[in-house]
């Protein structure tokens, strides 16, 4: 395949999102959204449940986005997107892209039922989940993807007791056309994966690790840096799943050559949300990462 390498120089300068929006300063979602829209272009219809994205896209009557968007109830994103797709089909406007874009709470918790069903039906749209690892819009409560030990406003002292659910894996178990994981710190990887996803028919799912300075307790300037740390420490892996086969992509696949990855403690210790983690818990997280990467290395031989 003739792959054009996307870089900041050849990436379109056209913006589809307006400045002066309500996202917090340094919001990882903002960067993602900006670059994501460049990949999707104007012939798209968005479906968005309540989340930080709702606020970022603008309060009535001003839209910070230049893409048509249907705001829907929290649990119904994938079902509403199926309805939009059905209407476009009967109206013979099948080239218009339908994109559901939701948070981790809206996807892993309240929206998982309608999403699971949409994948099972083989709907034709792209579902993007930006995972900032908590319910940020309502003031940082734990979600299904919040990592173990995280301090949130409803796990305020001990941190979240349970482990997070591996949402991309759950989605991949449904065998949709395409599953990919991304990080806000690697927007070009995200761009390329969107381009690939929209070239395919059927249900596509992209999950993005999305730093949130206010919810994670980091300086605003560090949201890209911290995202890179999660990937480089081997904690958050970027990969694609097609036809049941998982392949590490871009920034993560490069780690296979490395003998030793940076310690995850660096990533954990710069975020105040992890302040309740004990040294032993950190060592356990590190051990899990090591075992996982040992497995990856053995797979590639």
């Amino acid at each position: 395949m003739n792959k054009q390498v996307t870089n900041p120089v050849n990436l379109t300068a056209e913006e589809f999102m307006h400045p002066g929006n309500r996202a917090c300063s340094g919001c990882g979602l903002s960067t993602l959204y900006r670059i994501g829209l460049k990949a999707l272009g104007r012939d798209s219809i968005f479906v968005v449940p309540p989340s930080c994205l709702t606020v970022m896209q603008g309060l009535y009557p001003i839209a910070a986005t230049q893409i048509p968007c249907l705001n829907v109830t929290f649990a119904s994103t994938a079902a509403a997107a199926s309805g939009v797709r059905a209407a476009l089909k009967v109206r013979k406007k099948e080239n218009t892209k339908v994109v559901a874009w939701a948070g981790d709470g809206g996807t892993s918790d309240i929206g998982i039922q309608s999403l699971s069903a949409a994948i099972e039906r083989g709907e034709d749209f792209l579902y993007i989940c930006y995972d900032n690892e908590a319910y940020m819009n309502t003031g940082v409560q734990r979600s299904g993807t919040t990592p173990q030990g995280t301090i949130t406003t409803n796990t305020p002292i001990k941190g979240k007791i349970q482990k997070n659910k591996d949402l991309p894996k759950i989605i991949a178990a449904h065998n949709p056309t395409y599953v990919a994981t991304c990080s806000a710190a690697y927007p070009l990887d995200f761009y390329n994966k969107i381009i690939k996803a929209i070239s395919l028919k059927g249900m596509k799912y992209i999950h993005i690790h999305t730093p949130c300075p206010s919810g994670w307790g980091i300086a605003e300037r560090l949201s890209i840096t911290v995202g890179k740390m999660a990937v480089n420490a081997g904690l958050y892996d970027l990969y694609e799943v097609e036809n049941g086969k998982k392949t590490l992509s871009g920034p993560s696949s490069k780690l296979l050559q490395k003998k030793e990855l940076p310690r995850v403690a660096e990533y954990l210790k710069i975020q105040s949300r992890f302040r309740a983690l004990s040294e032993q818990q950190i060592a356990e997280i590190q051990a899990e990462i090591d075992t996982k990467w040992e497995g990856y290395r053995q797979e590639v031989g």
């Binding site: 900041p8 120089v9 990436l11 300068a13 913006e15 999102m17 307006h18 400045p19 002066g20 929006n21 309500r22 996202a23 300063s25 340094g26 919001c27 990882g28 979602l29 903002s30 960067t31 900006r34 670059i35 603008g58 309060l59 009535y60 009557p61 001003i62 839209a63 910070a64 986005t65 230049q66 927007p187 070009l188 300075p213 300086a219 605003e220 300037r221 560090l222 949201s223 890209i224 840096t225």
Partner: protein, 107 residues
């Protein structure tokens, strides 16, 4: 169908900037680009643009001499943090405002 009878009022926003107003006023620190250090400016050739790529608010221009739209720049400092040549410095707004005031007084 019958627009005479019903107005059909809904929440239907039209696109435009500044939903949150001039977000430049959120800034505590201002990004200042030193063009002597900035790769595209130095080489006079389109290159790098990592600040433009990462800027959450899309307020840096992709020009040989990148410009920052201070009306909306929120001052997050990501551009400074990610610039590979350390061409961007975050300077306290209060200091800049004070300096600007002095310059104005002299003139």
């Amino acid at each position: 169908m019958d627009d005479k009878k019903c107005i059909i009022m809904t929440s239907n926003s039209k696109s435009g900037p500044g939903d949150a107003g001039r977000t430049g006023s959120w800034r505590v620190e201002r990004p200042v680009i030193d063009l002597k250090k900035c790769t595209p400016a130095k080489r006079q050739k389109a290159s790098c643009y990592l600040c433009w790529l990462y800027c959450p608010d899309g307020v840096i221009s992709k020009e040989l001499e990148p410009q920052i739209n201070l009306e909306y720049c929120k001052g997050c400092g990501i551009c400074a943090q990610e610039c590979p040549t350390s061409a961007i410095e975050m300077v306290e707004e209060t200091r800049l405002i004070e300096e600007e005031r002095k310059i104005n007084e002299k003139n």
